[in-house]
Amino acid sequence: MAAEGQKTEGRPRALFPRWIGQTGITLGSIAFTMLGLLFVTFIIGRVMPIDPVLAIVGERASNEVYQQVYQDLGLDKPLLVQFGYYLWDVMHGDFGMSLLNARPVSEDIARVFPATLELATLGTLIGVFLGVPLGVLAAVKRGSWIDQIARVVALVGYSMPIFWLGLMGLLVFYGILGWVGGPGRVGIFYVDVVPSVTGMILIDSMLDGNWTVFRDALSHIVLPASLLGYYSLAYISRMTRSFMLEQLSAEYITTARVKGMSERAVIWRHAFRNIRVQLITVIALSYAGLLEGSVLTEIIFAWPGIGSYITTALLSADMNAVLGGTVVVGLVFVLLNVFSDLLYKFFDPRAQ
């Protein structure tokens, strides 16, 4: 941080610091992307072969009632005006009512989202703590057996259907070995035992001091989180390896070695330090990927997260819920992308 401060002192003073202009551009592009995202979901909602009026009033409603609701929903207005209404609602956190349980979609999403977040976060942690060392080792010992193993691990990760691997995991570790808890977040006896504070059951049970529930929840989450972690590991280790190879072939590394620096210091203090920024970007992207990858995983493990929510809504033609879920996942995805972009710009002086 101190170094950052010194650097700006040396520059000639402009009317605005440069970052204000850059932040303005970034914010503008985020706003535009989100607008586009909402427009796409809006169009999807309009193309859907489901009559939103019929879904509310039911099939036996009279023509007058039908017309009334039709006008209330603003469906008689031009498409752009309708989009304006939609935008207004979404900005106020209103995704409409779920047709399944007649509750606001936003409440449902707020309830299920922490479960996905918990799963994806744990998966990313596993991916980072195993994938980064594996990638560094594979780059340092290029061509050795560990490099080959890293290659196979990544290749298998890119080629295996995640839902199938999840099923196989359930079969082996739950069905045959009985090492882990089965589908769901906790065993049936522990449902709703601890009060929901954050919505993440591991943290909630810890806050409550209820270690029995914590252990049970851990035994349930370990398999799906490892599964997601494996996919994250495949990606992160591959990227780490190629970043490290790039650094290790640079001249300053040779210089450091010639100086007589220990190999460990060369790798960790020189090469690794220079790939940290790129790594953070990759980790943010992989985190975003896991939020999405959790859709299929959640189905397999009956995990009550946003993926299960969207799919259930989809199969029961609950349009508002599908679109609301899509928008939320999309927004988080965009934000994570932007966040990784900003980090990159902030930490890497060359990108400024």
Binding site: V156, F163, L314, T326, N337
Partner: protein, 304 residues
């Protein structure tokens, strides 16, 4: 025999090709030679050729009809006489269903691999060649689609269009084209200002002719590499949609849908879901290996 063979080799490897066709063939042959030296890529190619043959000769290879139910013989384990991979919950032969399912997989992959890169190529080259507002607009649209999580967008599209193979293909294509547009645009930007394009323009060629005849051919090789590497992802996405019940509909022997059927019996009759998963894994692994090999041949600057 050996004499004619060396004759062919010399003709193909000559430094002074006599015609344009000879030069093209020579370039292809050189690529093939370097591709052939990569055993993993050849392994992938072998699997895919087998898959193609399997799909083409499915009626001859399959021991049973993939749709015929035989409730007396349901859920037979592996190695049952007459049913080497067992039977599913309706007594259908799993091996035969896998063999017929390869047709569906190839069908989906081929369609997506035709639609998405072509769409991306058009958007990317038009944006890159015209520049200005058109470029800005097209690239912003591309960014919006890139910003979407792909599977969730595909889910929403299928919800709007209705379940089925064709709609799954459309949904996957709609989510798959933006990276191709990016690549094609980047290539176009480097080509656009080169001297030979100026020469062609001075000869009176219009923008459409320049894009289709002079820019597209140069974008193809990087697109092919990208498509091959994406194939595995396309297969996995299609299988995922099938698994969710949004792609191929029963009784279709689509591999993802077969896993979804077998899921209910996973703890007692594991092979019903396991076998189609192995098939998906093998094919997407083959595409990944092939893509890696092709990248080394066609795009040597891109390091592994």
């Amino acid at each position: 025999m050996s004499e004619t063979q060396t004759g062919w080799r010399d003709w193909l490897l000559t430094d002074t090709p006599q015609s344009r066709n000879q030069a093209r063939l020579a370039a292809l042959f050189q690529g093939w030679l370097s591709f052939r030296s990569n055993p993993m890529a050849m392994f992938g190619l072998g699997i895919l050729i087998l898959l193609l043959l399997m799909a083409a000769f499915a009626p001859l290879l399959a021991p049973h009809d993939p749709f015929t139910q035989d409730l007396a013989n349901r859920l037979k384990p592996l190695g049952t006489p007459d049913h080497p991979l067992g039977t599913d919950s309706l007594g259908r032969d799993i091996l035969s269903r896998l063999i017929y399912g390869s047709r569906i997989t190839l069908y989906i992959v081929t369609l997506v691999a035709l639609i998405a890169p072509v769409a991306g190529l058009m958007v990317g080259t038009i944006a890159g060649y015209t520049g200005g507002w058109i470029d800005l607009g097209l690239m912003r649209i591309t960014d919006i689609f890139l910003a979407f999580p792909r599977l969730v967008l595909a889910l929403a599209f299928v919800a709007a269009l209705g379940a089925g193979i064709e709609n799954a293909v459309l949904a996957i294509s709609l989510t798959a084209w933006p990276p191709y547009a990016r690549i094609a645009r980047a290539e176009t930007l480097t080509i656009r200002n080169s001297d030979y394009i100026s020469a062609v323009r001075l000869q009176g060629a219009g923008p459409i002719r320049i894009i289709t005849k002079h820019i597209w051919p140069l974008c193809i090789s990087s697109l092919i590499v990208r498509v091959t590497l994406d194939m595995a992802g396309i297969i996995l996405a299609a299988a995922g949609l099938g698994f969710l019940g949004l792609g191929a509909q029963p009784p279709s022997p689509e591999w993802g849908a077969m896993i979804s059927e077998g899921r209910r019996f996973i703890l007692d009759h594991w092979w019903v879901a396991t076998m189609p998963g192995l098939a998906i894994f093998t094919v997407s692994l083959a595409f990944n290996l092939l893509g890696d090999g092709l990248r080394d041949v066609l795009d040597p600057k891109d390091e592994k």
